[in-house]
Symmetry: C2
Subunit: 216 residues, 2 copies
């Protein structure tokens, strides 16, 4: 259990927030968001409902926080991964590998994020939920821009084929996160092998050495 | 509005089922599944709640039916598209183009399907909902097998690179359906251009002429 993945800079050592988030990730992962009762999360942490409400005003507020922290971790991991890479190809591979080099808890967190991503499209009436939703949307846009910038730079340096960078970014990201739909920790494939495979697909997608497919 | 996309073989000419489904697609598309009141669907069709309950026992039952019919249409479209294609490349392109050659209502239907796909992982207590969920899961597996068979045949004929066909099928599908996450009919890109782009990506992913990426 990597509690750092659910911790924020302003969480003091006595904050129960990370533990509540970790319990919620377990519950949402086991029986889904709808299937989880808010009181079950409190029970799992061993706190009362008043303490729970001290940190989160609703189950949805907690879910949106889990989603935001998942997106924050993805953004951080991308930046760290591509920081030292030489060629655009290396950077694409490093970014893909970083996306899959995560703990089982983060896998669960990503699955929850992807399953509930539609939640980000509708305005929330609660102020705190809406603040988390807006923060999530900013991170989604930032992650998309990370990838688009990487593709754009690769094109400018003549290392990647000339494709619309935004569309390519969305496609690379779409392929990467699609794994969380079907991957199960007890399944037949392990994450490093999946990372290799997806990395190969992404490199071929952006490659300058493959002839353009005629359209129409 | 293509009512055929929401019609079943056993719907008689006086059945209100397709009209209810079409109204629900509109409502779920506009304000989301959670944001839609079941009574609003009845109002939009111009029927009473008893008539609504004659066809669907719950809003979730209706949602699962919309999802199943969306999956049925995708399966049918794939089979029709690849039936006459010569090479494996042509078949991949034809299948991708078919996935995007759909009406605005079917776009909405696909978006609803993708937004609520997590619903398929948990057993339903209602018998009719569970029957629809099982039918959806069968169709998801069949669509995955369609793509895996296509890749397998292409590999056997030496037209496609040797990749795990199931993993490749999931990746191609994952890329194709990822479009429904961000595509909006009033956005800057039109579906035929997106289809061209995704088709190019898919062809490069399966291509035998791109060197294998070293792993590790």
């Amino acid at each position: 259990m990597s509690i750092e993945a659910l911790t924020e800079a302003d969480d003091g050592p006595r904050s129960k927030r990370p533990a509540i988030l970790a319990a919620a990730v377990e519950c949402f992962g086991e029986v889904g968001f709808e299937g989880t009762k808010w009181s079950q999360v409190a029970e799992r942490v061993g706190i009362g409902q008043p303490a729970l409400y001290h940190y989160f005003e609703s189950k949805t507020h907690c879910l949106l926080t889990i989603m935001r922290l998942g997106l924050r971790n993805s953004d951080d991991a991308f930046r760290a991964a591509v920081a030292d890479s030489g060629s655009a190809h290396d950077a694409v591979c490093a970014a893909v590998r970083a996306a899959f080099d995560i703990s089982p808890q983060e896998v669960q967190q990503n699955r929850i994020l992807q399953s509930n991503i539609a939640l980000l499209s509708g305005r929330r009436t609660s102020e705190r939920e809406e603040a988390e939703r807006q923060a999530c949307r900013k991170l989604v846009a930032r992650i998309e821009r990370n990838w688009a910038d990487l593709v754009q730079q690769g094109i400018e340096r003549g290392e990647l084929a000339r494709h619309d960078p935004v569309l390519m970014a969305r496609s690379l990201l779409g392929l990467v996160v699609s794994v969380w739909r079907w991957y199960r920790p007890d399944g037949s494939m392990e994450l490093p092998a999946i990372a290799d495979f997806i990395c190969g697909c992404c490199v071929r997608m952006v490659d300058a050495h493959t002839p353009e497919q005629p359209s129409g």
